[in-house]
């Protein structure tokens, strides 16, 4: 359940930014999570709900934007959509496909008052 550690890291980033900007409240938070990243969005939402309570971002609207997975097939060379690390290439049905995007975990922006 490392989503709790991720949620705490997110809160750190959010509070640090909000304080630097002299904001009194964070009302919105957007995250970018790659489809191939090692994180369960539902679990992260749950942990954020717990971690944000009593903070500057208590009650903030959390939005998780999914960045689609992408990879290059080492068999045919095509750049393809990849939704798991073990899927075959949708074009040639070959293996392996080396991931080339969709593993990000970023805090995109916050909305403050």
């Amino acid at each position: 359940m490392h989503e709790m550690a991720l949620a705490e890291s997110i809160l750190n980033i959010v509070e640090e930014t909000a304080r630097n900007q002299a904001a009194t409240r964070v009302t919105g938070l957007r995250l970018e999570i790659g489809e191939l990243a090692n994180v369960e969005s539902e679990a992260l939402q749950f942990c954020l709900d717990v971690v944000l309570r009593g903070s500057l971002a208590d009650g903030a609207q959390v939005e998780i934007l999914t960045i689609p997975g992408q990879g290059q097939c080492l068999e045919c060379g095509a750049i393809v959509r990849l939704s798991t690390l073990y899927d075959p290439c949708p074009q040639c049905d070959g293996y392996p496909v080396r991931p080339a995007g969709g593993q990000e975990m970023r805090v995109k922006d916050i909305r403050v008052e």
Binding site: M1, H2, A5, L6, S9, I10, N12, I13, V14, T17, A18, Q21, A23, T27, G28, L31, L36, A37, N38, V39, Q45, D49, R53, D58, G59, A60, Q61, V62, E63, I64, L74, T84, L85, Y86, Y95, P96, R98, P99, E104, M105, R106, V107, K108, D109, I110, R111, V112, E113
Partner: protein, 269 residues
């Protein structure tokens, strides 16, 4: 859709989620762009550890596996041999007890245990503090034995040179697919307990194919830490890594020496 609860209703109005902070869907206030990696703080600590390893010529390995894969037995056998050749040290992560560190110390290497409590992984900050309690194995090898868990440690860089994933033949051969992130992040996979192959339904070739499917660059060694079968290849792999780090340290020091001599020559004119 409401991003907080995933509901499709009430797109613009306010609603509650069954606890005490109803929220408003209407956007207002200032938008501040951040675009920062969620694990940036851990990455900063990991970079600090990595700098220390580079300066002191330490080849650091992060060993990950599920519980019961035989990591501690493997490490005890490994340090028993390698400590005769160069300094070795071990940092062990477990939720409770110092049993693993005691087993490593019994094998003759300095070891420190990090108890993560409820935590499911080691992080770079904790490893940095553990390093303060340990003689740094200068010119040698540091083994970091992560918490037995194939999920969470995948994301947390500790400053290591390489991740080594240990899988035993008493587990499912499809683990590389089920826990793809950790196999994808590893440089080397050790297939342990091969002495038990006659007694279990484990198709080695299929398992290796799965590992290569999620990580085309992964190196694979098969061994039994209990019987010692295959241990030579693993020990050689570690020795090669240690020698590569030493070679890098020598070229770095030579470059420093050259520039110091050049400065001396200029100021002596």
């Amino acid at each position: 859709m409401c991003a907080t609860c995933g509901c499709g209703i009430n797109e613009t109005g306010s609603h509650s989620h069954g606890h005490d902070h109803p929220h408003d869907h209407a956007a207002e206030g200032r938008l501040i762009s951040i675009e920062r990696d969620i694990l940036a703080k851990n990455a900063g600590f990991a970079a600090g550890n990595r700098r220390l390893f580079t300066e002191r010529g330490v080849f650091a390995l992060n060993l990950v596996s599920s519980p019961g894969s035989g990591k501690t037995t493997l490490l005890a056998q490994t340090v028993q041999t390698l400590r005769e050749e160069f300094p070795v040290a071990v940092i062990g992560g477990d939720q409770q007890t110092a049993r693993d560190a005691e087993r490593i110390q019994a094998a003759g290497a300095p070891a420190v245990q990090i108890n993560t409590g409820k935590g499911c992984h080691l992080d770079a900050h904790g490893v940095g503090h553990a390093l303060e309690q340990l003689p740094i194995p200068e010119g040698g090898v540091l083994f970091i034995e992560n918490v037995g868990n194939l999920v969470c440690p995948a994301d947390f860089d500790l400053g290591e040179a390489d991740k080594v994933v240990v899988l035993s033949v008493t587990e499912g051969e499809d683990k590389p697919l089920k826990y793809a992130n950790i196999f994808s992040a590893a440089r080397l996979m050790l297939l342990n307990k091969t002495d038990l192959l006659p007694y279990v339904d484990f198709e080695v070739e299929r398992c290796l194919e799965y590992a290569r499917r999620v990580n085309p660059d992964i190196q694979i060694l098969q061994l039994s830490a209990r019987t010692g079968d295959g241990m030579v290849a693993w020990l050689d792999w570690v020795r090669q890594g240690q020698q590569a780090v030493l070679a890098q340290q020598i070229s770095r020091l030579e470059a420093e020496l050259t520039s110091a001599r050049a400065r001396l020559a200029v100021s002596g004119r």
